[in-house]
């Protein structure tokens, strides 16, 4: 294990938790696995999530723990290495005997741990917005499905900004490709002609955006209002936005709405030239509710850093953790089968003033917000959905996926085909 400042902090917290537990009673603890990369490319996003989990566990212990026992965090570092995620997941479940795991960021890391969770029958809480088209018995998806982020964002641009021409720009991997497929189908269903949609993919970490930005400018000069829907992945965003700013593409002419750019990503950019570009999320730090204020204050105190920001996947972990705590309390045990059966229907308050609910398809209900980038790296919410949007495991926009239903309560199936009346997806 590499000793960064944060893992050291983590170990310390875990250590004190353990000591506390020993002091209180000789009982054993309930172990919670944290599977986030602390080194490698994804450390930039995932380290924060590990810290949030440590904070939540610490807090729960101060409230007296769970089922009379103390919680103990087990932190491992899968080092942004997808096969290592599976190994570390196995280690957490079989060696450390954790009751639930909170972790993963990229879809490929989630896919790589799936077989392990199925085989060893454990629980994974996945906190990041993703492409959907999946529902597994052992996984609970607390991030947004495409209908909780991408579709409302496009609706907003159509209605409020009167956008008629669309650039779908993304990094070349599974999340942007699937999301763009869904968006393309959705736009065409809304009557947007093929010639008004431009799709562009770039490699991971792309840093030379000159050609693409000038292409976008050209595409935008066709006389129709144009917008960019960006599924560009974390690291490539900074040079992309810098190029937009330098080439003078302003949000009032061609707005960019991003699905992977949050407060954390903007911390590395001078946001003044980006004023008015948009992002769609289920949470923003700037949302003014008592719950959110309290959370931000606790977060800053926990990290001892007044400049730390909060973001959407952090909130997803807060909701997921609280749901798990409630389900364990209700079930009276941490036995995975009983907790999995109890979780659907469990409610937990989100930080934006609503109550999120775990659905039978293992996704949750969330509000959707559209925010505009402000000069200080925060977002100003300009639009939100009326109520909470239930997450769809299977997109209604895609051929084939449309017929599938996930229901782990009555149907006990993650891909029930309503046409063939069989569990087993699109085939057969």
């Amino acid at each position: 294990m590499m000793f960064t400042r944060r893992t050291m902090l983590g170990t310390l917290v875990a250590g004190t938790t353990m000591l506390g537990a020993l002091g209180a009673s000789a009982q054993e603890t309930i172990k919670v696995g944290i599977l986030h990369s602390l080194s490698g490319t994804m450390a930039i996003s995932e380290t924060t999530l590990k810290d949030v989990m440590l904070m939540l566990i610490d807090e729960q212990n101060k409230k007296g723990g769970l089922l009379g026992k103390k919680l103990e965090a087990v932190v491992v570092d899968p080092a942004s290495n997808w096969p290592l995620f599976a190994e570390k997941a196995r280690e957490l479940i079989s060696t450390n005997k954790v009751s639930a795991v909170f972790g993963c960021w990229t879809s490929v890391s989630r896919k790589s741990v799936l077989p392990v969770f199925k085989e060893l029958n454990s629980i994974l809480f996945y906190p990041v917005q993703y492409e959907g088209e999946e529902s597994e018995r052992n996984v609970f998806y607390t991030g947004a499905a495409p209908n909780q982020q991408a579709i409302p964002a496009v609706d907003y641009l159509m209605k409020e900004e009167k956008v008629q021409r669309w650039v779908l720009a993304g990094t070349d991997y599974v999340y942007p490709r699937t999301t763009n497929k869904i968006l393309e189908a959705y736009l065409k269903a809304k009557g947007v002609p093929e010639s008004d949609i431009m799709i562009n993919y770039t490699p991971f970490g792309h840093s030379d955006w000159q050609t693409i930005v000038s292409d976008i400018k050209k595409f935008g000069s066709a006389g129709k209002k144009t917008a960019v829907v960006s599924t560009i992945n974390g690291d490539a965003n900074v040079p992309f936005y810098k190029e937009l700013g330098n080439q003078g593409v302003k949000a009032t002419d061609i707005p960019v709405v991003a699905f992977s750019v949050g407060e954390e990503e903007l911390a590395g950019v001078d946001t003044k030239p980006l004023l008015g570009h948009l992002a769609a999320w289920n949470y923003f730090q700037s949302i003014d509710t008592p719950a959110n204020k309290e959370f931000i204050a606790k977060w800053k105190a926990f990290t001892k850093n007044d400049k730390r920001v909060t973001n959407d996947p952090m909130e997803a972990h807060v909701i997921g953790f609280n749901m798990w705590v409630k389900a364990v309390e209700k079930a009276g045990t941490t036995d995975p089968d009983k907790v999995i059966a109890t979780l659907p229907g469990t409610e937990a308050p989100n930080l934006t003033g609503g109550i999120s609910k775990m659905l039978p398809n293992h996704h949750i209900t969330k509000p959707v917000f559209i925010g505009e980038i402000k000069g200080d790296g925060q977002f100003d919410v300009v639009w939100k959905t009326d109520g909470l949007v239930p997450g769809d495991a299977w997109s209604k926009e895609l051929e084939g996926s449309r017929d599938l239903v996930a229901d782990w309560v009555t149907l006990k199936c993650g891909n029930y085909n309503t046409k063939t009346k069989k569990c087993g997806g699109q085939g057969s």
């Binding site: 562009n200 066709a222 006389g223 900074v238 190029e243």
Partner: protein, 535 residues
Amino acid sequence: MRRLHALALALCAALLTLALTAPVHAAALQEALARFAADSYGETETAIGEVAQSGDPRSAEIIQALAEGRLLYGPGRRTYIKDKSAALFDAATGESAAGEPPAGLKPVRVNNRIRRAIESAMGGLTLLSPDPAKRLEAAQAVFKSRNAAALPTLQTAIEREPDRRIKRVMSEAQAAIIFLASDRPELDRLAAASVIAERADGDAQALLRNLPPGAPERLREAAQRGIDQIESRLAILKAAQNVFYGLSLGSVLLLAAIGLAITFGVMGIINMAHGEMVMLGAYTTFAVQEVIRTSAPGLFDMSLLIALPLAFLVAGGVGVAIERTVIRFLYGRPLETLLATWGVSLILQQAVRTIFGPNNREVGNPSFMSGSFELFGIALTWSRLWIVVFSLGVFFVLLFVLKFTAFGLRMRAVVQNRRMAASMGIRTNWIDAATFGLGSGIAGIAGVALSQIDNVSPNLGQSYIIDSFMVVVFGGVGNLWGALVGALTLGVANKVLEPFAGAVLAKILMLVFIILFIQKRPRGLFALKGRAVEA
């Protein structure tokens, strides 16, 4: 034209009546200002229109304040303006509101729709401003918004305008409004279409395409001709633009690779930690800017110049340390060197992650490196242009050091024949360390430049290491000119391919091309001849 005059006259008359009924329009201003307090984008948009139309001398100031987030509203639907020194004024009267309690004041919220309304209103209001920059901005705003209400002011502005360039933009703005106005005579609109076509850029094209259905046939044809004309002009520009983008990408590759051309090319060390030297340079820039921000903000534009020597020293120092502690024991064992330097690169990355945190760090652009300018209709960004100049500068300085200094002479001697050089009294150990330090230091300098266009994160170096090796291998190991020609060729080829093949495929094609090229010429573009090669 007669119609236009009539309109101008009518407007003058209207203005006169407005002036006579001043108290009435003051009330209208009050009413409009109250709308800002409604905290609704719709109301705010209406209010902007009303304030702009009110003709009140304070309207430009009010809208400017709104744009800058200095327009506040408070209880009783009253609005205030906060000036740059944070002093409060009543928005309606302009009187100081220092004595009143500013409790519960909130800035009026602005979104893209409001920003567009602001631009459009400001365009109309500042056309007659004494500041030429503001007039130009206003004319451009009117061209974009095509706000017909600005037409009379535009007319006056064109007549008064002394600057030819601004005058042209104003005429274009006027033409844009007339072109789209269906109540105008066809001849006026045809003339407007040709004025717009002469502007010959993407915006003009967009405007011509925007002709509403039901326009006269002749106008439609004229617009189409204009579109085609611009299209062919843009196609030529596009080619020129791609070449510039290619040179710019090539110069970035050159910067990243030039240090490697010394450590790998000249010394033959497969240095996987090369990218991390670039990263150290970028983090040095960040640290310098942090210090400048807190202690001497006035020096910010100089921050890169200050960072350059420091980055060279930091990265060069780390390089010498690596050479002395690791690499010197591994000379002649390339596989072990590769693994060892790979390990060093991971250690450096994690060290930086521990010290600075895993997140991106913000490195600001000095003013001379922000924004873009137009050259024959091609938009070039300053940051890219400076990097082209800078990388060529670094290249020639390095070439000079190698060819014309005593150190360069010794270095070349050691590379060509180590034992002979040693027997001539050259301390080869010392030269090895200094050469490796020089290569690393140059990488650090590259980091200063790359911090301007890329993420400053612990992963910065990794994204450049493959490209750097590609350039050096393609250009020919052991030859600086090879690195130059190799980098520029790869850059231009990549950018010419990109529009057709897409960024992902372009990159793959480049790799395939290099693999094939190496099959044909294993020593790269500029093969080093002489004894060292055979050895």
